[in-house]
Structure formats: C-alpha cells, structure tokens
C-alpha cells in the first residue's frame, strides 16, 4: 500500500474520527436525523477539511509558530464561508436542513485537529489525502448513524421506504434524545468488543496517535482517561 492509499485507509478505518477518536460530536448528534443529512454534512466537512489541509500545509513554513492557531482558524473559517455560500447557491434544500451547523464546521475539532496534527508537519499533497481519508471516515460514520436513525425513526433510507407498511416508526429516534441513545449504544458496543475508542479506557495507549493534540481539556476523551 503506498503512502497516499495508507492515509485514506487510516482516516476511514484505523483512526476513524467518530468511531475511534470520538471527535466532532456536535454535528454527529445534531444532523444525523436522516442518511441524506448525514451524507451532506459529511461531504461539506470533507470539502473544508481537504481545502484547509492543503492551504495550511502549503503555508506551514510561513506561519510563525506562535500565531499558528489564529492562522489556522482564519483559513478554516474562510473555507467554511466558501462552502456555506456554495451550498446556499446549489443545494438550498440541504442548506436549510443543516442550517446553523454549516457555519459551525469552523469549531469542529476534527478540522483543527488535523491541521495541528498533520497539515502543519507534512507536504500539501499528502495532507490533502489525509483530509480526504478523514473526511470520508467522517462521512461514512455520519451516513451510517443517520441511516440507522432514519430506519428506526421513519422506516426509510435516503427517503425510500424500506420497512414494511405495518412498521410503526419509533419517532423518538429522529428527535433529539434518539441521537444520544444511538451514540451511547455505539460506544457501549465498542466497550463490549474492546474496540479502540478515545472515550473508553481500553484506548488509553492509542490516544496519542489521535488527531487531537490533547489541548482540549473539555474533550470527552480527557475526563475518561484522567478518571482512571
């Protein structure tokens, strides 16, 4: 496997931002009311991630070390603004469904995490592949969670009826509490299978390899690890 393919595999499977690193929980919970919303959110985040990674990697030698966080935030915020305007123009229905969560991609810790952990240290091309891998990992996770909630909560996937007509949708799954329940079942399953996951104790050693540099004390992974 060459190093570009390795980056993509790494993002989708080995260090999947949601299932393994548990980053970016706000959009994960908020927009996964249906598979299409999850897919849309995932792809817009991917676009921002790839563009921000390329620009930050290209500028990595120019940005002074002390100013790197503000510089990264400006780059990410500019990319988000561009994606925001493109979506408003070309996919207005998705834009209104995702609403405020599009501009809030700025504070998604996956993006700043990859900028800090990868793009600041590597060349633009490989950083772009890192962004594609992480973005696809995020997209797949969001679409899966969204699809799961949509099946249970509405009996459809991508708007197509797949459950028999006699199925009574459990509508709580597309409401706010359902998001918490689905994510808790997912993390419980990871606990059970001892799969690596930043919020569970078993992943303590693997935590260092994650995209987040550990500067967010508020990250759910932190409290878990210090508690032990």
């Amino acid at each position: 496997m060459n190093k570009y393919a390795e980056r993509i595999y790494n993002g989708i499977w080995k260090e999947n931002p949601i299932f393994v690193q548990m980053l970016g929980l706000c959009p994960t919970l908020a927009v996964t009311t249906s598979a299409i919303n999850g897919l849309g959110m995932g792809l817009s985040t991917t676009a921002v991630l790839v563009a921000a990674n390329i620009i930050i990697a290209a500028l990595r030698k120019i940005i002074p070390d002390r100013l790197r966080l503000p510089a990264e935030i400006v780059v990410v915020a500019s990319m988000v603004t561009i994606v925001d305007m493109l979506m408003e123009g070309f996919v207005p229905s998705l834009y209104s469904a995702l609403g405020i969560y599009i501009p809030l991609i700025v504070v998604n810790c996956i993006i700043l995490g990859r900028a800090e952990a990868y793009a600041m240290k590597n060349k633009p091309l490989i950083s772009a592949f890192d962004g594609i891998g992480m973005g696809l990992g995020f997209t797949i996770a969001l679409a899966l969670i969204g699809g799961f909630r949509e099946i249970l909560g509405a009996g459809t996937v991508f708007g197509i009826q797949i459950m028999p007509a006699s199925y009574q949708p459990i509508s709580i799954f597309i409401l706010a509490p359902g998001a918490f329940f689905v994510l808790s079942m997912l993390t419980a399953l990871q606990n059970k299978l001892k799969a690596p996951c930043a919020t569970n104790g078993s992943a303590k050693k693997k935590k260092k390899s994650g995209g987040c540099n550990g500067d967010c004390l508020s990250c759910s992974g932190h409290s878990q690890n210090t508690a032990e």
């Binding site: 548990m22 929980l25 706000c26 959009p27 919970l29 908020a30 503000p70 935030i73 400006v74 915020a77 500019s78 988000v80 603004t81 925001d84 305007m85 609403g99 405020i100 501009p103 809030l104 700025v106 504070v107 810790c109 709580i172 409401l175 706010a176 509490p177 359902g178 998001a179 918490f180 329940f181 994510l183 808790s184 079942m185 993390t187 419980a188 399953l189 606990n191 059970k192 919020t199 569970n200 104790g201 967010c216 004390l217 508020s218 990250c219 759910s220 932190h222 409290s223 878990q224 508690a227």
Partner: protein, 191 residues
C-alpha cells in the same frame, strides 16, 4: 417585555442549547463529573456568552450589516470570540483575581465551545435586535448551566452504582443525557 421573556424561556428551556441543539456537547460530557466543577464551567459560560453576544451583535448591527458584509460573519465572529476570551482572561487576571481563580481553566476552554459561536449565529439567523440578542445569549447560557449541573448531579449518584461493564464510562452518560432530553421535551408546552 413579554417577547423578551418568551425568548429567554425558549432559549433556556424549550430549545435547550445542549439537549435539543447539541451545541457544547464536548464540555457537557467532559466537565460534568462533579457538581462543583460543572457549576464553575456554567458560570464561565454565562459570563463569556453574555459578553460575546453583546459584542457580536454590536459588530453585526453597526459594521457588518450596514457595509453589506453579512457573508463575513463566520470569520469575524470566531476571531472576535477568540480575542474576547483572551481579553476577558487578561482583564480578570489583573483586576478581579478571585473571579479569575474561580473560573480557572474553564475560561480559555470556552473559545472552542461551539455554543458561543452558535448563539452569535442564531442571533443573526433569527434577526434579533440588540436587546433580544443579549437576552437570547443569557438565556442560552443559563440553559447550558442548568443542563450541565443537572447532569453532574445525576452522575455523582451514578458513580456509586453497579453499571454493566459495557455501559461504564461515556455510554451511561449519553443514556442519561438522552433521558434528560426527553424530560426537557416537557417544556415545549410552556410556550
């Protein structure tokens, strides 16, 4: 007046920032181990969101909107919030040492709390005027404090219980948050 009251109640309880808008989940799960620390976090969030919504709505009303620079709002708001947190921190360190010590590490963490940016963007989205923006900001922050203190109270009780192995750690916290979200649905009848 009635309108302001409705905004306050709806932002604090009906569409609670954490439990129905999912903003600030990281700190909600991360800093809710003890009632005391979560109350400290809540206090810091109230403080910062109030100032941030005042400054952001002033900037929007007097700079961005008249100049037609509406599309720059995401960039401007995130920079303003980051700078603001720094300034508030320096000011408190010099002039109000006791409050600075009480807020401690939570203050710088708030920059990455999406609830702050979320409030500023929501104020623009709902076209609130200055007073409404401030009320919405304070209400949202109080809603955050209510939610995190309640969760911390429940978690302190969970500590002593025998939880199935798979659910130890974050899963049980998420289940608790889900049940709280159901309970908060009850407030939707208020308006």
């Amino acid at each position: 007046m009635v309108e302001l009251l409705i905004i306050a109640i709806s932002s604090a309880l009906v569409s609670n920032v954490v439990l129905s808008q999912f903003l600030g989940i990281c700190s909600f799960v991360g800093v809710s181990k003890q009632v005391k620390t979560s109350a400290g976090m809540g206090g810091a969030v109230v403080f910062v969101i109030t100032i941030a919504s005042i400054v952001a709505s002033l900037i929007y009303e007097f700079v961005l909107d008249p100049l037609g620079l509406d599309w720059l709002k995401t960039i401007v708001f995130i920079l303003v919030i980051a700078a603001l947190v720094q300034i508030v921190e320096m000011f408190l360190k010099k002039c109000m040492v006791s409050l600075y010590n009480a807020l401690g590490v939570y203050l710088p963490l708030i920059t990455t709390n999406c609830a702050v940016l979320g409030v500023a963007l929501n104020n623009v989205k709902y076209e609130y005027n200055f007073l409404q923006s401030v009320v919405n900001g304070v209400g949202t922050a109080i809603g955050y404090t209510i939610a995190i203190v309640l969760l911390a109270g429940i978690r302190e009780h969970i500590e002593g219980n025998d939880i199935p192995h798979s659910f130890q750690g974050s899963p049980i916290v998420l289940v608790t948050a889900g049940l709280m979200a159901i309970a908060f649905f009850g407030f939707s009848g208020l308006l």
